[in-house]
């Protein structure tokens, strides 16, 4: 059966390739692009048209090739085609619906490709006619909404989403896409939510819906009231939010696994590394680039959810067994909303689900962990523009998370311990840490680890100043929470301090290069203020008294760095110039650090002199520190535990505009591809019905 089908398919292809023979549908298209009303000769023209298989290339090409005058001539016919497409959407015959959807897709795309420079209003006029536009779009959106929410065929729903994605991404800048104004008025938000809340539809269309939502939210975000933003911000239905989290989680997990597979492939032993090294000398990381394919659209969706919706934070911590996507595509998901609580057995879908993987090696995971792992991969290499943007977005998301009280609460929850295997960049001066040794700790440790990891691995010429600032801000926010709630985290603060000091050292030694591009004083100030937090408020969040001693030890040990920093900022602040002001702030911030150094260094020297020791051991230094606290006076600095809350506008507006543009391009590219493959699906579909 299938074979004969294939054969006929083959036959058809060969026959269609014969030049003189034109497809019927093409003939009909030609009729549309003629001036005449096609129904004149054939009253059933439109009925027949939607029974034909759509020839996208032809239709798009034709639309593209029209010039201004021609457009005006065939405008009525195009309007009528659009109108009949919309009407066909409510047809019972599903073939017609499919064809209408594809035709619409081609219409939107063709018209836009043609009219790159034209205003949105011209396009609307061309497609629907000004007078009818509102009505047509209303009808279209309503039809799409009912198709998405109805229990029709899944491939139909998928096609609907493709159409919407196509419509949303026809322009490079989403905000210039005037047709979307109608999508704002006739919201399909509810349909998207419904898809996300349902288990089976989520697994099939979740990705598209999430991407669509993320894009729609970004339509004229800063200029007008976007109903999608408002609606997204107030969603509080747990199954829906969970569903959204699940889709994002799967996408990120997928990426992480792909990366890991690739990594393992590359690490196939000494020999293969050698050969790959040799190979890479000739081929410029062809397959390396492949893994670079970051998923900005999903990341943007995660950002919007975290940023706009407060309830989504709980989803981050919603833990579930790490599910192998490839093995079980229709992943078991919590609570389907259709089952009212209690009346149906609570265990129906999840509890006794035999599909629940019982593999003992499976780690329990949650969206946050997956996101952290993903971030650790992304942050490894920020040279590429896409990856830099992704890394920036990751840090922005983390900033939002670190600001959220609820998120902080579960990050610091002592009962929620996880092993988070972050990816670490292999570097010359350190061995790749063995994966399995990571202890199980509260999640905030993983966040701090990630930040420390970033700090130590990005001290390079192309200094990502912006990312460093965000990184330090995240740490600062977390520490503010710890101070406020008196969370005493058992973390290896020592490594953390030395990472910060090394950062200062790097700033100092590359002062001239960096100053040309960045305000390094801002970063230095943030770092010094982190130390001030520890010095003045250490009693509220340090885990042990000895950790306070160690802080002093670390400062004293590295006093050279602080001394040099002080010299540098003093020098800059005494010279008049653009850096005078920021540098003087750093000098003031250093007051306590300098007090510590100046207080203890003579004490240590005299201790060494008295005891005739040239080199003091750590314990001896600590002993000196402990016995000399009481004579040290510190100056209290105000506002150390205050921070500026994250706000997208106006600081990040530019970034997001560019990001959305690049996502649009990417999605458009992929949608067109997959719409083509939709043909196959369609064939299957037509044989069924």
């Amino acid at each position: 059966m299938a074979q004969t089908e294939k054969k006929t398919g083959l036959l058809r292809r060969t026959s269609s390739s014969k030049k003189p023979l034109k497809e019927k549908v093409v003939l009909m298209y030609e009729e549309i692009f003629a001036k005449e009303d096609p129904t004149k000769n054939n009253p059933r023209f439109w009925d027949e048209l939607f029974l034909m298989k759509v020839n996208l290339e032809y239709l798009e090409g034709k639309l593209e090739s029209l010039d201004g005058d021609e457009v005006m001539r065939v405008k009525d016919n195009i309007n009528s085609l659009f109108h009949h497409c919309v009407q066909a959407l409510s047809e019972e015959h599903q073939i017609k619906v499919v064809n209408a959807l594809q035709t619409l897709c081609a219409l939107f795309r063709g018209v836009h490709q043609k009219n790159k420079s034209a205003t949105g209003f011209d396009i609307i006029n061309m497609l629907m006619g000004f007078d009818k536009a509102e009505l047509r779009m209303k009808e279209l959106m309503e039809s799409l909404d009912s198709l998405l929410c109805g229990d029709g065929s899944e491939s139909l729903k998928s096609l609907c989403l493709k159409l919407l994605l196509c419509l949303v991404t026809v322009t490079d800048n989403i905000s210039q896409n005037t047709i979307l104004e109608y999508v704002m008025i006739n919201s399909i938000f509810e349909a998207i939510l419904q898809i996300l809340s349902d288990v089976s539809s989520r697994s099939q269309h979740g990705y598209d819906s999430v991407v669509l939502l993320a894009l729609l939210v970004n339509y004229r975000k800063y200029e007008s009231v976007n109903p999608y933003i408002v609606k997204l911000s107030i969603v509080d239905d747990e199954p829906t939010l969970d569903g959204m989290g699940m889709v994002i989680h799967h996408a990120l997990t997928d990426y992480n696994r792909q990366y890991k597979d690739k990594e393992e492939e590359n690490q196939g032993g000494f020999f293969s590394t050698l050969t790959s090294m040799v190979g890479s000398m000739f081929i410029a990381d062809a397959d390396e680039k492949l893994s670079v394919q970051t998923n900005e659209a999903i990341l943007l969706a995660l950002y919007e959810a975290v940023h706009l919706n407060r309830n989504f934070i709980t989803v981050l911590a919603q833990s579930h067994p790490e599910i192998d996507m490839s093995a079980t595509p229709a992943a078991p998901v919590p609570a389907s909303p259709t089952t009212p609580l209690g009346t149906t057995p609570p265990s129906l879908d999840m509890m006794n689900n035999p599909e629940l993987p019982l593999d003992p090696n499976l780690q329990t995971s949650n969206l946050l962990i997956t996101f952290l792992k993903y971030s650790s991969i992304i942050m490894q290499d920020t040279k590429d523009e896409h990856r830099l943007n992704s890394a920036r977005l990751c840090l922005i998301i983390l900033t939002c998370i670190a600001e959220d009280q609820y998120a902080d609460a579960f990050l610091h929850d002592d009962n929620m311990n996880f092993r988070v295997n972050l990816h670490r960049m292999p570097m010359r001066h350190r061995k790749k840490a063995a994966d399995k040794n990571v202890p199980s700790r509260p999640l905030v440790c993983a966040v701090l680890d990630l930040m420390v990891e970033f700090i130590v691995t990005h001290m390079m010429k192309e200094f990502p100043m912006d990312l460093y600032v965000r990184c330090i801000q995240i740490i600062h926010k977390l520490i503010c929470y710890q101070k406020k709630c008196r969370v005493r985290l058992h973390y290896t603060w020592r490594d953390f301090w030395s990472a910060l000091i090394n950062l200062l050292k790097f700033l100092l030694s590359n002062e001239t290069i960096l100053l040309a591009k960045h305000n390094i004083f801002q970063l230095a100030l943030q770092v010094v203020n982190l130390f001030n937090m520890f010095i003045t408020y250490g009693d509220t969040f340090l885990p042990t008294p000895s950790s306070y001693d160690e802080l002093y030890y670390e400062i004293i040990r590295m006093h050279q760095v602080f001394d040099n920093l002080y010299c540098m900022v003093l020098r800059v602040s005494t010279n008049a110039g653009q850096w005078k002001e920021p540098a003087s702030k750093v000098t003031h911030a250093l007051v306590n650090v300098r007090a510590i150094i100046n207080h203890f260094n003579p004490k240590i020297e005299s201790y060494a002199a008295v005891n005739h020791i040239s080199q003091l051991s750590e314990d001896q230094v600590l002993e000196v520190v402990r016995s000399n606290y009481d004579t040290l006076t510190l100056k209290l600095q105000d506002g150390l535990d205050q921070f500026e809350r994250y706000s997208e506008q106006p600081r990040e507006a530019g970034f997001f505009k560019e990001l959305v543009r690049s996502i649009s391009l990417n999605v458009r590219k992929n949608v067109s591809l997959s719409t083509m493959s939709q043909d196959l699906l369609l064939k299957e579909f037509s044989s069924i019905s």
Binding site: V230, S233, I234, D236, D237, E238, L308, R310, T314, S319, H320, P334, L341, G342, T343, P345, P346, S347, M351, L356, T364, Y406, A409, D413, D414, N415, M416, N417, S440, C485, R486, N532, I535, T536, Y537, T540, L542, T544, P545, Y548, K585, H588, I596, Y629, D630, T631, L632, T633, L634, K635, L636, D638, G639, Q642, F643, E644, R645, S647, Q649, P650
Partner: protein, 877 residues
């Protein structure tokens, strides 16, 4: 106890028997009949407040309801009474030839609508009361010829002394169908809680003993199953568990299995439908009967409390029924306000809580659907939610067992429970709790996996809302986890008006911290503010925004100085002041969780819970055991409870803590955890101290009040458990099985090896009980007063236990029926148990015995060996 004997002429009896239709009406009188002066009026008055509670305002409905109340209990009574009537009458017929001797003094006594015409010769009443089980048997044997004996028995049965324990004992020992039937009926007259205690015994008898006993018990069980979902499930679980020892072929057709199926088929629903139908026919014959002063003994015998309870629960059924019928009639959303008037007070409260919630409507909607389906459409789901709840808890346990490490188990447990949370609240409850409630949330991050080698028992905390009746009160509406946050959800919208500077300043100045916390629950704000360190509040002058600015702006102001030494000192002080907690140990995750004081845990979880603000919020905990047979534990619980009652009754200040056991099947169940207690193994491992030093660390020095109290608690509990260990031959007493609570009590857990069974029969633990020198040290050494007190307590306890030996033996003996449990291995289990009570010794001899046992236990080399063995094999210190 109502021991009223009412006259009933044989003619009336005949009448009763002939006309079952009137019998139903005749029994109506029993409800209102003041059987005994005290109980009658109370029954009436107590039932009325319960109805008025539910309906505070609407008077018209009150009428309907109160009418319903009468009929409800009425119908149930008639049914039961009818059945019982017929059964017993049949037997009476059989007895009649012998019992005809009824003399002039004979009083036909009415039992459940039946008269036992027995004669009461002026005999010697003490005979029966002093007679033990043996003599009763002889009575039974002789009674065909000598009916006077039986009348003595009857006298006993109707006396005030006759309690549930005796009823069970006679039910078990008597082979006389009449007596069995009588007791079967008498069960109705005991308080539910009293009978519930002996439920395992009753059901085991039902399963494993002859037809007659079963027939006697069944009506009662069926009746109670109709009344209560909880009882139904308990019965079903116990029936399943106790049938499991039978051969598979017989099991399938056994009585127990049949009854279990019947219960689980959910046909035993409260006969509410019938009630409705019968409402329009008020029984006319009620008043005349009342007038005659003739009543059915079931009620005349029943104490007031029972009548009260039944009428109450039935009343609420009808209330929610009526309200729910209304709900179906119209749109539930619109109905909510109206419902508030109709339904009980707690109901309306929950609905109110729901409406304040954004998602309220939606959830109310769901809720209504659920309720409607419960009461109107599908009564079959009556048992389902709870069964599924339990099943999913067991499922989690099974899956956990497949994971290799504790850490993975813990993580998996947390994630599984978080999924379970999605299904809550629901009409489910913890059967181990003492009050009615609905489970609303499982704080999943608090759950811990307990220490076990190959199984995966785990401890969960469960948030519940107390309610009047879990069957009829409406299920609380779901409150999303982020309830406290929802008010702020629009805050992060792109705000056009505010410039970034304004934004920054508004968020960074100190007073705005409150703003920021606005959305948090009131407790949170308070807490967070309190926790702002003093220095901070001193220095916050609101002028500055950032440290940078402040430093420049403060140039003019006087700078504030702090001493580094103070910071360091505060740090060490604060750490010292925190209560002694255990360190986190991935291999022993439960230690930390169990060490945290219960009150603190409750407070902490309440703060984090979206339901925490509700006044009826409670926290419960339960251990879910999967793959373990808890039937022995249940037996031990019963014995412990019985001994506790005995000691309390005899005023011996021994302290023991029986913890509740729920047997779900022969290999699963639940345990009520002992709160504020950690195992001695955990204590020693974590503190690395001797027990005495740990006591001093926890409670202060020797002379402090606290230490002395803890020491006394230790001694009293130690004495109690030593006796238990001796009497029950509790083995496997390593330190992982002995808990120490925050007040100094020790608590033995894990009764897996009792009576005739011991672990692997290695011959360890030959001493009577475990008494290590460390224990003695805590008691103040061998010469201390407390040690003498300990021995004295043991003696008193043993004497008291001996006095009531029968009550203890009976519990064990009945459970031996048909049981394959290892604790009943061999034939001499009961005999040995009896011997350990040393009935033949004088008190002086007993004292010597106690001394000997204490001595031997203390010197026992095997105890030490066993601890060493445990340390080597299981790492238990």
């Amino acid at each position: 106890m109502g021991d009223t004997e009412l006259e009933l002429s044989p003619a009336r009896l005949e009448e009763l028997q002939k006309s079952p239709s009137t019998s139903s009406t005749s029994s109506t009188s029993s409800l209102s009949l003041p059987s005994s002066p005290s109980s009658g009026p109370r029954a009436l008055t107590s039932s009325s407040p319960s109805t008025s509670e539910g309906l505070p305002t609407s008077s018209p409905t009150l009428d309907v309801i109160s009418e319903g109340v009468g009929e409800l209990s009425l119908v149930i009574d008639t049914e039961v009474a009818k059945k019982a009537c017929q059964e017993v009458l049949q037997k009476v017929k059989f007895l009649k030839p012998d019992g005809e001797v009824s003399s002039a003094t004979s009083e036909p006594v009415l039992v459940n609508g039946t008269a036992h015409p027995e004669s009461t010769n002026g005999g010697k009443p003490p005979k029966i009361t002093t007679e033990e089980a043996e003599p009763v048997k002889s009575v039974r044997r002789r009674q065909k010829n000598n009916s006077s004996k039986q009348s003595w028995l009857l006298r006993l049965f109707e006396s005030k002394l006759f309690d549930i324990s005796m009823a069970i004992s006679y039910l078990y020992n008597s082979k006389e169908p009449g007596v069995q039937a009588y007791i079967g009926n008498r069960l109705f007259s005991f308080r539910n809680e009293e009978v519930d205690f002996y439920l395992p015994q009753l059901l085991n008898m039902y399963i494993h003993m002859d037809e007659d006993v079963g027939d006697a018990i069944k009506p009662y069980v069926v009746h109670r199953c109709r009344q209560s979902i909880n009882f139904s499930l308990q019965c079903a679980w116990l029936l399943g568990a106790y049938s499991s020892d039978m051969h598979i072929s017989t099991q399938r057709y056994s009585r127990g299995t049949k009854l279990r199926k019947l219960i689980l088929s959910d046909e035993l629903k409260p006969s509410s439908q019938r009630i409705r139908r019968e409402v329009p026919q008020p029984p006319p014959s009620c008043p005349p009967l009342l007038h005659h002063g003739q009543g059915m003994s079931e009620h005349s015998l029943s104490p007031s409390k029972r009548t009260h309870q039944r009428s109450k629960s039935d009343a609420t059924v009808s209330i929610s029924l009526s309200s729910n019928l209304k709900r179906t009639a119209s749109n539930p959303k619109v109905e909510t306000s109206q419902d508030e008037d109709l339904s009980s007070s707690s109901d309306s409260l929950e609905l109110e809580a729901g409406t304040t919630n954004c998602a309220g409507n939606q959830y109310i909607n769901k809720n209504c659907d659920k309720l409607v389906s419960y009461h109107c459409k599908s009564v079959p789901v009556r048992l389902t939610p709870q069964r599924e709840f339990i099943k999913s808890l067991m499922g989690i346990g099974k899956r956990l067992a497949t994971l290799p490490t504790k850490e993975q188990k813990t993580q998996r447990l947390i994630s599984e429970l978080s999924l379970l949370n999605h299904k809550l609240p629901a009409r489910v409850w913890l059967p181990t709790a003492a009050f009615d409630h609905h489970v609303v949330r499982v704080p999943h991050t608090q759950a811990v996996v307990l220490n076990s080698k190959d199984k995966a028992p785990y401890l969960i905390y469960v948030e519940v809302l107390e309610c009047e009746n879990f069957e009829t009160s409406s299920v609380p509406v779901r409150i999303p986890e982020t309830r406290i946050r929802s008010t702020r959800s629009v805050e992060n919208l792109p705000d056009c008006g505010i410039t970034p500077d304004q934004r920054a300043s508004s968020f960074s100045t100190v007073p705005n911290y409150d703003n920021d916390d606005e959305a948090w629950s009131v407790d949170d704000i308070g807490e967070l503010q309190v926790e702002l360190p003093e220095i901070h509040t001193n220095s916050c002058d609101n002028i500055s925004q950032f440290s940078v600015d402040s430093i420049t702006s403060q140039e003019s102001k006087e700078p504030i100085f702090i001493a580094a030494g103070d910071i360091r000192r505060r740090l060490s002080e604060q750490l010292a002041h925190t209560p002694t907690t255990f360190r986190k140990d991935p291999e022993d995750p439960s230690a930390v969780a169990l060490k945290e004081p219960w009150e603190e845990k409750v407070r902490r979880i309440r703060e984090g819970s979206p339901y925490g603000h509700l006044p009826n919020w409670r926290l419960l905990s339960v251990i879910v055991k999967c793959g373990d047979d808890l039937r022995q534990e249940l037996l031990a619980y019963q014995v412990l409870k019985q001994l506790q009652i005995i000691w309390e009754q005899e005023r011996v200040p021994l302290w023991i803590k029986p913890y509740k056991i729920l047997v779900i099947s022969s290999d699963s169940g639940m345990i009520e955890p002992v709160v504020n207690a950690v195992s001695i193994h955990q204590v020693k491992k974590q503190s690395q101290l001797l027990l005495l030093d740990y006591f001093r660390q926890e409670h202060g020095n020797y002379t402090t009040e606290e230490f002395l109290t803890a020491q006394r608690n230790f001694v009293q509990s130690c004495a109690g458990y030593c006796l238990i260990c001796y009497l029950l031959q509790v083995k496997d007493r390593h330190n992982g099985n002995i808990l120490l609570d925050s007040e100094g009590h020790i608590i033995h857990i894990d009764f897996g090896f009792i009576l005739s069974s011991s672990p692997r029969n290695l011959g360890f633990e030959t001493s009577a009980f475990k008494l290590t020198s460390e224990f003695v040290d805590v008691m103040g050494g061998l010469d201390g007063d407390m040690f003498n007190y300990y021995k004295m307590l043991m003696l008193q306890g043993l004497i008291a236990a001996r006095k009531h030996m029968e009550k203890v033996i009976q519990i064990v003996e009945i459970m031996q029926q048909g049981s394959q449990l290892p604790c009943f291995h061999g034939s001499s289990t009961i005999r040995n148990l009896k011997e350990r009570f040393h009935m033949n010794l004088t008190e002086e001899q007993l004292q010597v015995l106690v001394e000997q046992m204490v001595d031997a236990s203390m010197r026992s080399i095997t105890t030490k060996l066993y601890d060493g063995f445990q340390y080597l094999t299981n790492g238990i210190m």
